[in-house]
């Protein structure tokens, strides 16, 4: 598909990505049968699931049975669909956890079967959550296979990897290092931080800790989702990864019907829409105020923004659609940090007739893609930045879900929270990252990059 529209793509980036994928797969298959792992690390929207899909044909040629796991059910569903549609002559076997089943439209695909673990033992391509695959393996209902592929492996924690690791000797771990790290609701979740037994380190983290010397880490140097306007800002979240946008400048375009603003808020909203369509970003700031998480003014602004957006009939064209297409409500998402923000927004948007506009917390948006995203800035109106709100992964997820434009909403004093010295943070032996200081840096970089696109109410 990409080669057919060569003039839309950055060929150097595509070649580099193809080479990285090929090298990673070669490394994985070269060590088939050995206790060996290959890591494929990628930025947001790199098409890493595409690399997972590409493991199937060489595995079938070598008569290797594969188990493919993801941290969550939703990710597993999406992967089953992707695999089934890409390899129509292969049977994709999904092993669900109890009380879980594939959505109807995926289950109905002719080459998808959904079976108990015990019935999956003859299958060539087995998909499930890593918890389910690990549990079935430990109980002896699922017998070992030849290769284990884990998608979103930076969201898989060490304890889940522990359960599934012996399902196959040879592993391919694919993932995005910039997203949210595994978390726990237990009190004092950092009690093991820095120690080898820490169940909250990532699957990739525990692997590299124990087998750094013999584990090859491949980088996928591309983002297919983000374009050249988004990539410079997003690089702040990937200090150890260089990458380029796959799509050439000028290919993606977003425009709105002309309109006349009749109020101050609408004028601001219109400006935000226009800036975002031009530069891919807009940063709108409400006046400074200390507010509770579910800030009613912010909710009003978002509702006004969504209403105005669709009133002005947004049209987009891109590398996938050469002609102008009207943006659908389901292709627009609002990313938030808290569930009460989500609940209140959901209620308000439903009541003004936008039930299809997606509203989700950053955790749930991981792995999803939209045309336009409205990001409720994690620091908006908070009195003091803390680890949760500074988490670079949370901001990264919110700012990397869009193909065309991202409108960031906050309050005017959010930036000044980071003018002071960063707080003293606890240190952990054997553990270098510091989520508070890393977040502090990433947030400052993001604010600086949003500077030219800023509007203040």
């Amino acid at each position: 598909m990409e080669s057919a529209r060569d003039n839309h793509f950055n060929r150097r980036a595509l070649h580099a990505a193809a080479r990285a994928t090929r090298d990673a797969l070669q490394d994985f298959f070269l060590h088939a049968g050995e206790e060996h792992a290959t890591v494929l690390k990628a930025p947001a929207g790199a098409g890493k699931t595409g690399a997972v899909v590409l493991t199937v044909p060489p595995a079938r040629r070598r008569k290797m049975r594969l188990a493919i796991g993801t941290p969550t059910n939703d990710q597993a569903f999406a992967l089953v669909e992707r695999l089934a549609r890409s390899h129509t002559n292969e049977t994709i076997t999904f092993v669900p956890a109890s009380a879980v089943s594939l959505p109807q439209q995926i289950a109905r695909l002719p080459n998808v079967v959904q079976v108990e673990a015990a019935q999956a033992n003859g299958a060539a391509i087995i998909v499930g959550t890593i918890s389910k695959l690990g549990d079935a393996f430990c109980r002896g209902t699922l017998t070992p296979v030849d290769g284990l592929v884990i998608d979103e492996s930076f969201q898989a924690d060490s304890s889940r990897y522990y359960g599934v690791a012996d399902l196959a000797p040879t592993h391919l771990l694919v993932g995005d290092s910039g997203q949210l790290n595994p978390f726990s609701t237990m009190p004092d979740p950092y009690r093991w931080r820095g120690l080898p037994e820490d169940p909250l380190q990532t699957a990739v983290g525990v692997l590299l800790r124990n087998h750094d010397a013999r584990t090859q880490v491949h980088n996928l140097p591309i983002s297919r989702r983000l374009d050249h306007r988004a990539v410079p800002l997003v690089r702040a979240f990937y200090s150890d990864l260089s990458f380029e946008a796959a799509v050439l400048p000028g290919v993606r375009k977003l425009q709105f019907d002309p309109a006349t603003a009749t109020s101050r808020t609408l004028r601001l909203v219109d400006q935000a829409l226009e800036i975002s369509s031009r530069s891919g970003w807009a940063h709108v700031e409400l006046p400074p105020a200390p507010v509770l998480a579910a800030d009613p003014e912010m909710i009003d602004l978002i509702v006004a923004l969504v209403q105005r957006l669709f009133q002005r009939r947004p049209h987009a064209r891109c590398e996938r659609h050469a002609s102008w297409n009207e943006l659908q409500t389901r292709h627009v998402a609002i990313g938030v940090s808290h569930n009460d923000q989500k609940d209140l927004l959901r209620f308000r948007l439903d009541s003004v007739g936008f039930p299809e506009v997606v509203v989700e917390t950053a955790n749930k948006l991981q792995g999803l893609e939209f045309e336009l995203v409205i990001a409720w800035h994690p620091l908006a109106g908070i009195p003091e930045p803390d680890e949760f709100h500074l988490d670079p992964g949370r901001l990264c997820v919110l700012l990397t879900r869009h193909r065309h434009a991202c409108i960031v909403l906050g309050r005017a004093d959010d930036r000044h929270l980071l003018d002071a010295l960063p707080p003293a943070t606890p240190a952990f032996l054997g553990w270098d990252p510091d989520p508070i200081l890393d977040g502090w840096e990433a947030h400052r970089a993001a604010f600086a990059a949003l500077e030219p696109h800023r509007l203040t109410l």
Binding site: E35, A37, A97, S98, S131, K132, G134, D135, F137, C138, R139, S158, S159, R160, Y161, Y162, G163, A165, D166, P169, H171, S184, T185, M186, P187, D188, P189, R191, W192, L195, P196, E197, D198, P199, L200, V206, L207, R209, N210, H211, A213, R214, L292, D340, D343, L344, R346, F347, D350
Partner: protein, 482 residues
């Protein structure tokens, strides 16, 4: 801070006294606890310089080490504590009941000792002392006494158990107050038991802010006040000079009096405050779910005593598998204690009502016979409609549990519509046909997102997979650069 806490904090500032956020007391307070007050010397965190202990307010005992930086003197002080503490702590295990555990039976002590301390810093110090004592050799050139090692094992157990949400074997009074009271103080200010208590019970005529401002200068331990240690320093120097290197009890005992006199008022002050807070909190009615958690505590205590007295040892570090299992156990305990507390307490649930995690209203209708097609057969799915004065922003399909049956299958919201008098009518459907207790028409019912149902745990393999084993055994790195 949730919405309720913000409102109560504002009110507390206006009225000059703290407000309760819970109608009940959610931890048991034993009639006959073991109270401990610890002080360390300066910044030496692994030795106790002064220890206050006893089992009631009038039973105040004080031990001082003299020179806690000297191993023999530090251990001699702890040895005296061990003789009292071990007896108190282990005696409760003598009387047992038999309880079923899956397919077998196990015994459980009828009661367990409860240790009360001023703050979580004391629990941390108990953990450090435990870590220092529990693994001492009983043989060799410098053997430790068996009592001292057992004291270390009990301390280590208490410190580890303290991390279990809702546990009651060791109670930090500061945390207990913080879980039940709201003040406008910052989290750091609320770690001073004296300042926190001053806001809860300010002297008559004094605003809580003023009372807390003067009380926060009071040191509680285990960290000493700098000025106090300045006064202590010459006493310790004189003590060291007089003992002239000796650690013999006959030499030491007569020399300790000045140091004991220094510590007595400091430790006594914390002691009195600890008991005042304890006795005041004991006056609140205990929440209904407390005995269930006390059963777990008694079992943990019994298992620990049996293991320790059989000569068992505990690992200093967990394996990856143990850490993973413990993480899940603690996550589960956390969810259950939150659900139990919310279900028990009509005041505590208010924050959930404000945060759209619960709805409450008068039961208008209960349709016990409602049926619908589930898979292919018709099944009973009772409907409950409540009338709530508050808006309900929760989406259709949201799973909620009636607070009277938080361990049963959930209800789901199937309809929300406007009712008379600006009320909202919310219809919930029970997702089981089992005959479980249903709300009755006319009563007030609350449905919340909290459940005591436990999640499915994925099994973990018994042996460590290659990914979690170091490729070469770790070699100790040099402590200092060459």
């Amino acid at each position: 801070m949730d919405h309720l806490e913000v409102a109560l904090a504002a009110r507390a500032l206006r009225e000059g006294r703290a407000f309760r956020k819970a109608a009940f007391r959610h931890r048991c307070l034993s009639e006959n606890p073991i109270a401990l007050v610890l002080y360390q010397l300066g910044a030496e965190p692994f030795s106790a310089a002064a220890i206050g202990f006893g089992h009631c307010k009038s039973d105040f005992n004080l031990i001082v080490a003299g020179e806690p930086r000297n191993r023999d003197l530090a251990f001699a002080a702890l040895q005296r504590l061990a003789q009292w503490f071990n007896t108190m702590f282990e005696n409760a295990a003598a009387h047992r009941e038999t309880v079923p555990n899956r397919n077998r039976e196990q015994t459980r002590a009828n009661t367990a000792p409860q240790v009360i301390v001023a703050n979580s810093a004391t629990i941390e110090m108990i953990g450090r002392l435990g870590r220092r004592l529990a693994y001492l050799p009983l043989t060799g050139p410098r053997p430790a006494s068996a009592e001292l090692v057992r004291l270390g094992q009990h301390f280590l157990f208490l410190h580890r158990h303290a991390g279990t949400p809702g546990q009651q074997l060791i109670v930090s009074m500061t945390d207990l107050l913080n879980e039940h009271w709201v003040t406008p103080q910052s989290p750091m200010e609320r770690q001073s038991l004296a300042a926190l208590y001053a806001y809860i019970a300010p002297p008559p005529g004094l605003h809580g802010y003023e009372a807390a401002a003067s009380a926060e200068r009071i040191a509680i331990g285990p960290l000493p006040d700098g000025d106090d240690d300045e006064k202590l320093d010459p006493l310790v120097q004189e003590f060291n000079g007089r003992r002239n290197g000796s650690t013999a009890p006959s030499v030491i005992a007569p020399l300790l009096a000045p140091i004991a006199s220094h510590y007595r008022p400091l430790v006594r002050r914390t002691w009195d405050l600890l008991w005042t807070c304890r006795d005041r909190e004991a006056g609140w009615q205990q929440a209904p779910s407390v005995p269930r958690r006390w059963d777990d505590d008694r079992q943990a205590y019994t298992d620990h005593v049996d293991w320790t007295l059989r000569g068992g040892h505990r690992r200093t570090r967990l394996t990856p598998r143990q850490a993973a299992m413990l993480m899940r156990k603690l996550e589960e305990a956390q969810a259950i204690v939150a659900a139990e507390q919310a279900s028990d307490d009509p005041l505590l649930i208010v924050s959930d009502l404000l945060d759209e995690k619960a709805v409450q209203g008068w039961v208008l209708r209960v349709d016990e016979t409602h049926q619908e097609i589930v898979n292919v057969r018709a099944a009973r799915r009772p409907l409950v409609t409540i009338s709530s004065p508050d808006p309900c922003l929760m989406p259709h399909g949201k799973e909620l549990w009636w607070t009277r049956t938080p361990g049963s299958p959930p209800y789901v919201i199937v309809d929300v519509r406007a009712g008379p008098n600006q009320h909202v009518l919310i219809t919930l459907k029970l997702t089981t046909s089992s005959r479980i207790q249903l709300p009755r028409t006319g009563e007030t019912a609350c449905f919340s997102a909290h459940t005591t149902r436990t999640h499915w745990f994925a099994a973990l393999p018994p042996s460590t997979p290659w990914t979690h084993r170091p490729s070469s055994p770790p070699t100790p790195a040099p402590i200092e650069d060459e």
